[in-house]
Amino acid sequence: MPIRYVIDRSARYLLLLSALVSIFVVFLIGLFTLREGLPALREIGLGSLLTGRVWRPQRGEFGLLAMIAGSVLVTMGAMLLGVPLALGCAIFLAEVAPDRVRAVVRPAVELLAGIPSVIYGLFGMVVLVPLVRRVPVPGNTGFGLLSASIVLAVMILPTITNIAEDAIRAVPREYKEGSLALGTTHWQTIVGVTLPAARSGIVAAIILGVGRALGETMAMIMVIGNSIIFPKPLDNNPLTLFLSQARTLTGNIAVEISYATGLHESALFATGVVLFVLIMIVNTTAHLLIRERAR
């Protein structure tokens, strides 16, 4: 057999191997997290872990509801702020911007992805938190969901922008030409033809942003306050909910793991399991959605 066929064959197996390794690693991490969390899941029970409002490991109370609410709310906040911004940015880059402008904006957005999250956290802590603190509501410390959502919105910007831009660019030229030929304006074409055609890619981009937001840890610890409370409005205005401090699931693990032993440690791994499942649900939903749309 000629040598190039041998190379061809072995290259295929090597590539397969790399693919298998990555699956194996995910599998191992999931298994390990579950194994470490199992004693807590058994002793505390999944039900009381998920619905318990009080987390006081020293007194044997392990309830994750406050942290689940914290993670979900901060992600929602980041989506509300970040998605319109990222989509606007993606449409601008794909459809509107002249080449010279794009050559500046695009690397700048990509640069955002390269900033370490601790830097975002630091920026949030010394710049955003004091700004948010100026909102005159009693009990507002600046640390909380709003500051965290703003930081997170910026952090997910490059993820959503890049993928959404690719999706918009992938829309066949004929679609746009057809629309424009019917006499629509550029904006009408973007809203009526390009965006609907790129919908599945855009949804995927947003869901990936959600996954990224749920998993963010360091920056969250620095600006969200880490208080173990179920976020609630500080006064009669329901929007002040976002001025409340909170703690995320990721933060719960990172803040406490270095000191935890025994059941406490296991409960933190159980937190990891909850996070893992949450992210899997998000990703599965994304794929289901994309499949539905594709039909």
């Binding site: 603190r133 610890i221 173990i228 803040v255 935890a260 499949r291």
Partner: protein, 288 residues
């Protein structure tokens, strides 16, 4: 592609669920063999683990000792006070470190544990520099951290809500604070407190948040925060050494059984004048 990824995700869920049904034995960490103390001369290895408050001090003490006896290798690890007690008691390390008193329950579990206090550390009550108060009583501090006093006007300050900053649960500094200020059976720290995972983060938070109050190890005090007098006693090392300042905790090294060999030599060095000088240099209070 999306279909395959979806199926993979499904597979993972199944696998996780399947392994969840199978009773997995709880992981039991096997104790690592502890290092062998040298017979003659001073050579050997010491592994220390535990309190992160003790860690920088232990590193300095290890460095100085190794400089004297190049054959001795000391490894200093963190992990927290509870880890320090546990790993020394179980014999997985030669020396454990705890920045609080060893609890009765822990001494019951590990009756062979010998406790050596190598330094003392004061815990300062700190406030944002603009807080116009110079001191509080211990009871006031307790009530503020318990959430019973929520406004500075209740302790003679301006009519502003108090922002409580604390360490996370499990921290030795928090445990020592709770034991000495809140009382053993006392109220828990209010759950609206901002929690920060290190002394440094607490300092930054208090320094940048108006109307805030927190607690810090003496070693972390600087001019960015205002240390409040407690019961009229200033938070200074002199007052802590004399016993006047009421919130002082021991920094303990824990050894299973009587210390011997290279471990004993290190301990003797720490408690010698030379070792205690390092303790003072690092901002802690000497025990002699």
């Amino acid at each position: 592609m999306s279909r395959k990824t979806f199926m993979l995700t499904g597979l993972l869920v199944l696998a996780l669920a399947a392994s969840g049904c199978r009773p997995t034995p709880a992981p039991t960490p096997t104790p690592a063999p502890s290092s062998t103390p040298a017979e003659a001369g001073l050579s050997g290895k010491i592994v220390e683990a535990g309190s992160t408050t003790v860690q920088p001090l232990a590193e300095k003490l290890a460095e100085a000792f190794s400089a004297k006896y190049p054959q001795v290798q000391i490894t200093v690890q963190g992990g927290g006070s509870s880890v320090g007690v546990k790993s020394a008691g179980e014999g997985t390390v030669d020396v454990g470190a705890a920045s609080r008193e060893v609890k009765d329950s822990e001494l019951q579990e590990f009756p062979d544990l010998k406790v050596f206090t190598i330094a003392r550390d004061g815990i300062a009550i700190v406030a944002h520099p603009d807080v116009p108060l110079d001191g509080l009583t211990k009871e006031q501090v307790r009530d503020i951290f318990a959430g019973e006093i929520t406004n500075w006007s209740d302790v003679g300050g301006p009519d502003r809500p108090i922002v409580v900053v604390s360490r996370e649960e499990g921290s030795g500094t928090r445990a020592a604070f709770e034991e000495m200020v809140m009382g053993k059976e006392g109220p828990p720290i209010v759950d609206t407190a901002i929690l920060q995972p290190s002394n440094g983060a607490v300092r930054t938070t208090v320094a940048t948040t108006p109307d805030s109050i927190g607690f810090l190890s003496f070693g972390y005090l600087d001019e960015s925060v205002k240390a409040l007098a407690v019961d009229g006693v200033e938070a200074t090392e002199a007052n802590a050494a004399s016993g006047d300042y009421p919130i002082v905790r021991p920094l303990n090294l824990l050894i299973k059984g009587e210390p011997s060999g290279v471990v004993k030599a290190w301990l003797d060095f720490i408690l010698s004048d030379e070792g205690q000088e390092i303790v003072v240099e690092e901002g802690y209070i000497a025990v002699k």
